[in-house]
């Protein structure tokens, strides 16, 4: 077996390292734009201490079913974002994921695409899932185009489920089946 699951072209998947990563993760949470694009909860800046605590709580809540990757740029090994898989339902073969690039400077460079390709391979060839699910918001056109480009289908539109900037927006769910992924360019 020579397939490398954690080594991409420009990025790699690494374990979260609280000492190294909490500082930069904290910085991202001070960017409301970043929070609006990725978070359902109210925007809340977090100190490095709270980043560490939140990570520990997520790990504990997951009862061992915890798949969390820090995305690192290979050129200088800095953290550029994260990808994590949660709520794995082994009996049904489904899980939910979240993926984000922290700094606007690192977006629109194909790093997110590479991370998603790696995450899809992990979901379908390591966890052996039947399908993979994620969520975004009506106002996040970037995420919708990104998911569609990678073969996801819009499956659920919860009308007016998000209240932001003085109006309601739809909450969207996207899904991709293993068989759809296997036929896509991402699996090659």
């Amino acid at each position: 077996m020579v397939l490398q699951l954690f080594e991409g072209e420009k990025i790699r998947f690494a374990a979260f390292d609280a000492d190294k990563d909490a500082e930069i993760f904290s910085k991202w949470t001070h960017d409301p734009e970043y929070l609006r694009l990725t978070e359902y909860e109210a925007a809340r800046p977090l100190a490095p201490f709270h980043i560490k605590k939140k990570f520990e709580e997520m790990e504990k809540d997951a009862h061992g079913d915890f798949y969390y990757f820090v995305l690192r740029a290979k050129e200088d090994d800095r953290a550029i974002g994260f990808a994590h898989i949660r709520w794995v339902e082994w009996n049904h073969g489904n899980a939910h994921f979240n993926l984000a690039i922290g700094s606007p400077d690192d977006r629109r460079k194909g790093l997110g695409s590479e991370a998603l390709q790696m995450l899809l391979r992990y979901a379908f060839e390591e966890l052996n899932l039947y399908r993979f699910t994620t969520h975004t918001f009506e106002y996040n056109d970037g995420a919708q185009n990104f998911l569609t480009k990678h073969g996801f289908q819009l499956e659920v539109r919860r009308r007016e489920a998000i209240y932001r900037d003085g109006r309601y927006w739809d909450a969207l769910s996207y899904g991709i089946l293993a068989e759809e992924w296997a036929k896509s360019a991402d699996s090659k």
């Binding site: 339902e89 049904h92 399908r131 009308r159 899904g175 089946l177």
Partner: protein, 186 residues
Amino acid sequence: MNNLFTGKLTRLIAEDPDKMGEVIERWSRDSEFYQLFDSDPTLPRNAKRATERMREHAEKNRPGNFPFDVVRLEDERIIGEGGLFDAFSPHHNAWLAIGIGERELWGKGYGTDAVHILLRFAFQELNLHRVNLGAFGYNTRAIRAYEKIGFVHEGAWRGVLKRDGRRWDMITMGILRAEWEAKQNE
């Protein structure tokens, strides 16, 4: 003012871990009930352990979770469980769950009655803008009941459940406050 917790056939009481242990042990012997109610593998439950688990849950419960037991007015018997979950967020919505554990009472309007109480609580006490729910594709009885109550189909996670050897959708439904209010005046 109406009694918020009482409907025509049922009323809602606080989830009671001490009473529910025995009840859950009995309901869980019917494997179909928890297949209709939960996507976790269906399992026979032990009363004492079920009570302990419910107590642990209650301690961790976030303030936006409102779990209830459903009591039948006729004989004060606990016949189901349900509630509203994740109701405290900036987005004014919550997830609804309902299950009638007593098989001989299925299809008699008890679940619908309890959902009416939960919706009134959601819109008139929590002042939410919408209520969401997830229904398993094979639970046609529930889906029809939700449609009648006024829930709208909003899509489905394709094939997300595997049961009885085949794939089923998980259907998301929702009702907006304005839709619920219009129904009250019908």
